[in-house]
């Protein structure tokens, strides 16, 4: 009798506790799904407003001519000069910061002593978190005059100036991703090259970097994505002229700066309002694709390194 009672009790407890465990699991699962939910919401919501733009203005308007005059009587909504402006700031910024960031990453991973690295690495990491408005302000207040004298540029605020500002935030990103990629290269590769009598630089150039190349390139692509999406620096430093130009010393207007400069001043429900959502959606899709590519590259690198080890 007692035995039976006991087993019944135990059974009841397990049943109850599995129920609790299940509930706990679902609770955490639902929290995890919130990221999915918001990603879907962002896409849905932006696409909805972008479709309103297409039905209000027409998709042709965004690509047909080359002028951005949303407040003119004869309003023109071409995204082309904005795309050009975005690329004209993001590409030079990516080139500058890839060059410097990769070198810095190589230095940290292969050359610097342990102690130096321990001091420099956190310092650079701190810089990655510096508010971009601070850099925008400094570029506007100090950098613009400095570079105008240096390049003798006709236009004080220009694409190159914005690119320099962007580089300040991209260098830490690229250098730490480079360093991570380099340090993930198995040490026996280095040892083997030393044993073959190759010089250090040749070892870095011919052995370590090729092994880490996908990680390094993922860093560059990620940096490019960040450059495209950055707002405050380009808003303050690029001069915001929606000009169709390929000259780096001309003032340009990026997609992000256009949204930031105009969204606060637009009547909700007007074609101008929807057009800002359209260019925002465009930006979202582009950055999404860029991030996807770098994600795939990193994934491939992980697999490759697993094989090596």
């Amino acid at each position: 009798m007692t035995k039976k009672y006991h087993s019944f009790y135990a059974k009841k407890r397990t049943f109850k506790s599995t129920l609790v465990e299940k509930a706990v699991k679902y609770f955490f699962f639902l929290n995890g799904m919130i990221s999915v939910l918001f990603l879907v919401l962002i896409f849905l919501f932006l696409f909805r407003e972008a479709f309103s733009a297409i039905s209000n203005i027409g998709i042709n308007e965004f690509f047909k001519n080359v002028e951005w005059y949303p407040t003119s009587e004869d309003s023109r909504y071409s995204i082309i000069p904005l795309i050009l402006g975005t690329l004209l700031t993001a590409i030079p910024a990516t080139i500058i910061s890839s060059f410097l960031g990769i070198i810095l990453g190589i230095y940290l991973s292969e050359i610097a002593s342990g102690r130096t690295r321990e001091i420099i690495k956190p310092f650079i990491e701190i810089f990655a978190g510096l508010p971009t408005v601070v850099i925008g302000f400094l570029i506007l207040a100090v950098g613009s005059t400095f570079f105008q004298e240096l390049f003798n540029a006709g236009t004080r605020l220009n694409a190159l100036l914005a690119a320099f500002g962007l580089s300040i935030i991209l260098i830490p990103t690229i250098s730490s991703l480079t360093e991570d990629a380099l340090r993930a290269v198995p040490n026996n590769l280095r040892m083997a090259s030393y044993a073959l009598g190759i010089s250090k630089f040749a070892m870095i150039k011919n052995v370590v970097i090729p092994a880490a190349i996908s990680g390094v390139s993922a860093g560059i692509i990620l940096g490019f994505g960040r450059a495209i999406g950055e707002t405050m620096i380009v808003l303050m430093a690029s001069g915001n002229a929606a000009e169709l130009t390929l000259n780096l010393l001309h003032s340009v207007r990026t997609i992000t700066a256009t949204i930031a400069g105009e969204l606060g001043e637009v009547a909700i429900g007007s074609p101008h309002y929807y057009s800002l959502f359209f260019i925002g959606t465009f930006l979202l899709i582009i950055t999404f694709i860029i991030n996807l590519i770098s994600e795939l590259i990193i994934e491939r690198m992980r697999k490759k390194l697993k094989k090596m080890n």
């Binding site: 951005w68 005059y69 407040t71 004080r156 605020l157 915001n240 002229a241």
Partner: protein, 259 residues
């Protein structure tokens, strides 16, 4: 006019400590947008509402009522190193429509003209486009050239022109009057007319702006949703009172009446 609005808010709250005034800034577009969207009870802006904006407001259940609260002179500025002192309306139009690209064409240095302006939804942008660029022969509105830089505020515009020896810009005269690192240009309506400057000896030329002999001036407006009542009425009354108008003058804008 956000700085003027700030001072008004400060002065108003000194008289009415029980009422709290919050000020959000940006261009006139911000004020218009927030009035239309119903997020502000009063919008101080530097241009009249456009018909389509009134339509949007009515759609959102907002009935904008206009109050004229002050006068503002729009000045054209260049770098102090520029040898140009006087510009006529037609030259200004040619410069700001992109027809004249080099200072040499108007007897200046051989250098490209760098155009500075404001964001496309600001009242100053709109005013300047209407009064200077206006329309071409076929009645089509003329736009600023695409290479005109849009700065986020008149202050950063003044800062840019002060450091750019080939720059030209425009904006509320109050931002420029006290600065020696920029030059306020005299304006002629036609080639024969007298050139008049909105700033004389670092002080605003109030009379010229008020009597219209300086051609570039505009009213500043407060818009309320419906006929102002309660706190909004106190606020509008305060702005129009001698004290409110004194604040206008202290901020380098032009009071409606001569004191």
């Amino acid at each position: 006019m956000v700085n003027l609005t700030l001072r008004w808010a400060e002065g108003f709250m000194e008289e009415h400590p029980e009422i709290s005034v919050q000020v959000t800034g940006g261009g006139s577009g911000t004020g218009i947008a927030s009035l239309i969207n119903g997020t502000s009870s009063i919008a101080n802006i530097s241009r009249e509402l456009k018909p389509n904006e009134i339509d949007y407001a009515k759609q959102n259940g907002v009935n904008p009522i206009q109050h004229i609260v002050a006068l503002d002179g729009i000045a054209v500025i260049v770098n102090p190193n520029n040898n140009i002192d006087t510009i006529s309306f037609s030259l200004l139009k040619d410069i700001y429509s992109g027809k004249i690209k080099n200072w040499k064409s108007i007897n200046g240095n051989d250098a490209n003209i760098v155009l500075y302006g404001r964001e496309n939804s600001s009242g100053t942008y709109e005013y300047f486009r209407q009064s200077i660029l206006n329309r071409d022969e076929s009645g089509r509105q003329i736009d600023f050239p695409a290479n005109m830089q849009s700065l986020q505020g008149t202050a950063s515009l003044a800062e840019a022109v002060s450091k750019d020896k080939n720059g030209i810009g425009f904006g509320g005269v109050g931002y420029f009057a006290l600065r020696n690192d920029i030059k306020v240009v005299s304006i002629k309506i036609s080639n024969e007319a007298n050139a008049i400057s909105p700033v004389v000896n670092n002080a605003i030329n109030y009379d010229a702006i008020r009597n219209g002999s300086y051609p570039l001036s505009r009213y500043l407006y407060s818009y309320t949703n419906g006929i102002p009542q309660g706190n909004e009425k106190y606020y509008i009354d305060f702005i129009l009172s001698p004290k409110g108008q004194q604040i206008v003058e202290s901020m380098e804008y032009i009071p409606l009446k001569k004191n």
